[in-house]
Symmetry: C2
Subunit: 232 residues, 2 copies
């Protein structure tokens, strides 16, 4: 039953000793030559295992000095799953629908950094006809001129952009806000009810494509991050 590649076994062995605390941060792990001898394999195989660990920042390699166990990150980071609303709703076995609540075309403000003209859209996303997310979105018409004639009542802006304007960079901000009047009305909440706000900006080759602010009722949604150093 030994189908595990040798380089994974080597990486796993080292990882386990780090996770168990046997090899503390700063500890110098065996050299590649020593590991070759220990496992009876070629140097590339050892090197591949250590390259994998280094790419996950578990170890730091330095010529001449050898490879040492990395110090744990002060600001630890974690992989957070940022949901695509439609997939999320359908993944829960519910029916997705949406309503376009507002649409205007206007000059972009300088601080928006979206070029000359933008289209501003307000969309309500529903799960089984229950309001779920209220979204305000800007799309830069300089970058995505087709957005001006796209039918966002038929296809939600997020889906349209995914199909027509793949991004190369994105930034997400997550914060808590009280629902403003319009949002509260759309989502059927009391004014000021706690909501999770997910702001997303994307760029394509350095040019701003879109900015979206998505508001979830606080009780309705969780963002989950799971991080395991042993699994990358």
């Amino acid at each position: 039953m030994d189908h595990e590649p040798l380089h994974r076994r080597i990486a796993g062995d080292i990882e386990r000793r780090i996770a168990s605390g046997e090899w503390q941060p700063g500890f110098r792990i065996p050299t590649e030559a020593e590991l070759m001898a220990e496992y009876g394999c070629a140097r590339m195989t050892v090197s591949r295992a250590i390259t994998d660990l280094a790419s996950r920042a578990l170890v730091v390699r330095r010529r001449r000095a050898g490879t040492v166990v990395a110090h744990p990150p002060v600001h630890s980071s974690a992989l957070v799953s940022i949901p695509d609303i439609q997939s999320e709703v359908e993944g829960r076995g519910l029916t997705y629908s949406h309503r376009l609540m507002g649409r205007i075309v206007r000059p972009a403000l300088a601080e928006e950094e979206m070029g000359g003209r933008v289209i501003e859209l307000e969309t309500l996303h529903l799960a089984d006809d229950v309001p779920f997310v209220f979204e305000r979105r800007l799309i830069a018409l300089d970058v995505a001129p087709d957005a001006e004639t796209a039918d966002f009542a038929a296809q939600p802006p997020g889906g349209w952009l995914l199909a027509n304007m793949p991004w190369t960079e994105a930034e997400h901000r997550i914060s808590a806000v009280g629902a403003d009047r319009e949002t509260a009305a759309g989502l059927g909440l009391a004014d000021g009810a706690p909501c999770l706000r997910l702001e997303r900006r994307t760029w394509r080759d350095g040019q701003g494509v879109t900015q979206a602010s998505q508001i979830f009722p606080g009780g309705a949604y969780d963002l989950v991050a799971r991080f395991s150093p042993t699994k990358g």
Copy 2:
């Protein structure tokens, strides 16, 4: 000036064609044999380049079917910086302090999955003496018996755990809540004010070590995620 390794150059060339849109999602990129010929190098060099792209989920490799450009992350994920409070405060040039507001030792509830006994701590974190975060935390005494005698008035529980109980797995949940009475009092907010709640659970070798619920005033904090597929 050409000190760039060949495998990076190959990976970079492919990456650029993906980022530019020249190679769309689903496009089958040249086989390893074709890339060997194109770059006049050994197969391992090509393979290393593609392995790197695959590890960043830019492409998907399948035997026989070849390597294709990955579909954009529908459930895109992003590296979110999960703050260590003390570092965060000090990083802003402010003075960090904390107050232990509550401490009890009690049997764990079954649904807490924390073994037999836990210590429950309430800590207020301050920046320049202004309340910043209210934290409720459980620590499993089966796993971390020393926590029962540790002086959490001197060292905040997060720092103590970092030094004494490195974790191997962690899960974060982010949600929005209205401040309850105790939290509102601690943070100097109105009852029900929108707050960002960061819940963190960690495990060590499969055993629950700690659970923390950290409440930030909604206006005081943002979690920022920046993601660039071209930079990993």
